[in-house]
């Protein structure tokens, strides 16, 4: 009798479950569409409705994550925190757990720098003792095979969680954030958690941020994308703040020839609207002939109409004759250069017999 009853009840039960599942999914999809359109308040309503009416539906953890994200976007952090607590209580095994942890850290901050170091798996030189505690459920990654000596670097499967932790360290303690970024790049020169933080680093103290980014740009080990992104941040900073120009010039003067060439070439390659202007600023700010030489060489290696005024200025006014010569040679490669410009350059050249310092 019981078996008969169960066999009769099961299909209707399954049908009811399926119907609930479909309604929950529809609510989620509606909420997500609203979210895509930036209608966060309406999206929140849909996500809440799905969670309230169908708390046991499949992927309700995903709906809960979307709700948390929506609340954070609306700046309603106390409610977001409450939903994070609910999430951790209701879905302890969820695949979304590390994503939620990322949100939690973003709105609550790191417990301590040491905790962040531990989370990033960077517990090497100059790093203090163990953290007080590690939140349950946060996944620690596997050890990176190429870790530098004395360091234990781990990579998390959720790179964006590492990025968030590193970002918070950079915000809390900038020199330490730079140090950790440098160490991580030693293990993986294309570490996405660091690269995604270039813009955060670029907003920090220029005397530390710019040398770090220029070093990445000048490092032959870095991938072209990494170098492009580092240079992009440097360029923006230089265009925004005059005081950052001497820092870049000084950093380049301290580089070795190869590193300097790589960094300047990268700036030329990444040249867009403001590229030439940035290099001219650095050129003018630099008292080091080697830096000026490299800038003129790099700019002159593929001269075009937009570089003519700069090269012409160098050809007329540069103190070092070696640098001048390179500018003139670059201009000579260009067709249709105005004859008057050549006349102007010739007038500024020293009389025959006077030689500039050796290159």
């Amino acid at each position: 009798m019981v078996v008969l009853g169960l066999s009769l009840a099961t299909p209707s039960l399954l049908r009811a479950q399926l119907a609930s599942q479909n309604t929950a999914r529809t609510l989620f999809n509606e909420g997500r569409d609203l979210w895509d359109e930036g209608k966060f308040v309406d999206a929140e309503r849909k996500f809440r409705e799905a969670l309230t009416k169908y708390p046991k539906a499949e992927q309700s953890d995903r709906t809960a994550y979307y709700l948390i994200t929506t609340l954070v976007s609306l700046g309603r952090t106390p409610e977001a925190r409450m939903e994070i607590e609910n999430f951790n209580r209701n879905y302890p095994q969820s695949r979304w757990k590390s994503d939620v942890e990322e949100k939690r850290l973003a709105i609550s901050g790191l417990p301590s720098i040491q905790w962040g170091q531990y989370q990033l798996g960077l517990r090497g030189h100059n790093v203090g003792g163990p953290p007080r505690a590690v939140p349950a459920g946060v996944v620690r990654g596997t050890k990176e095979p190429g870790s530098p000596p004395g360091l234990t670097i781990h990579t998390n499967p959720n790179v964006s969680l590492d990025q968030e932790v590193l970002r918070l360290i950079i915000e809390m303690d900038f020199p330490e954030g730079i140090r950790l970024s440098r160490e991580r790049l030693k293990g993986n020169p294309s570490d996405p958690a660091v690269i995604a933080n270039f813009s955060t680093i670029g907003s920090g103290n220029p005397s530390q941020a710019l040398p770090f980014l220029l070093t990445v740009a000048g490092d032959a080990q870095s991938s072209p994308h990494t170098r492009t992104q580092a240079v992009f941040v440097v360029r923006r900073r230089v265009m925004k703040e005059e005081e950052s120009v001497p820092v870049v010039a000084d950093t380049l003067s301290r580089f070795g020839d190869v590193e300097r060439r790589n960094a300047v070439d990268q700036m030329v390659q990444a040249r867009q609207v403001e590229g030439a202007a940035v290099l001219q600023k650095i050129y003018r700010a630099s008292s080091n002939p080697a830096v000026r030489m490299q800038i003129v060489e790099s700019v002159g290696s593929a001269p075009d109409a937009s570089t003519v005024p700069f090269l012409s200025e160098v050809a007329r006014n540069e103190k070092e004759l070696g640098v001048r010569r390179i500018a003139i040679q670059s201009l000579a490669r260009l067709p249709n250069v105005d004859v008057k410009m050549w006349e102007g350059i010739l007038k500024t050249l020293p009389p025959p017999g006077v030689r500039g310092p050796a290159k």
Binding site: N29, R32, W35, D36, G38, R62, Y65, Y66, T69, V72, G75, T77, P78, R81, R95, W96, D99, R104, L105, A106, I107, S108, G109, L110, P111, S112, W115, P131, R132, A133, P135, A136, P157, V159, S160, D162, Q163, R167, E171, M172, D191, P192, A193, I195, A196, N197, F198, S199, T200, G202, S203, H225, T228, Q229, V231, F232, A270, Q272, V273, E274
Partner: protein, 228 residues
Amino acid sequence: MHDCQRFREDWIARLTGDPVDCEECRRFCEETTEVLTALASRGPVEPSEEYWTGFSNRLRARLVAEISLEHQRGSWVRWMPVLASAACLVLAIAWVNLRNPARESAEVSISFDDNHFEGLDRRVVAFLRQSELDLRNFTKIDPSFAEEIEDARNRASRSLEKMTEQKEATGDFAPVQITLNEYESILREIKNLDSAEDIADIQMRIRRNGLIANLKAYQPRVILASQR
């Protein structure tokens, strides 16, 4: 075995009237019977006035002593549950904090910073935000989630339709261009999914490239009050 104490208690309570061999108990029964008989013959005894005055004084003194004692003991007894509750609360908070130290800063207020993408088209920022969530979603998909896979493919198609416009709007933002190029290739793979193994490969690629982190990099950053 005869128990004198037990026998006498039972005898007084009239639970037993059995004769007893114990000489002492037999004498106890006889004496007690005599006393009870004598008392019964005298009728009820009224205490004197002096007795009641003394009783009143003794009662008052006793009450004062009791209250005083109760006061001393009471401060402990009365506050015991409160203290116990407070101790439990302190232990609970300490335990929770040890497990989850970030709660210390639970009430930190936030603001959003968008200086790092000043000049970037807002439509691109919205697209990055949406793409980030789509990719987070895709990395959770199990090959058995047929409906989710279909949904991901549809959304990938829709995002690809917008891609050219987004790239044009990106302008000089090289990092965003790089990210959109990577994202576009992932979207094409999602759109053209044809086996369960493909899903795992794409998920691995998304993680390895840190694409979610890159999509996040040029969105508003949450700034905590303490960092301002």
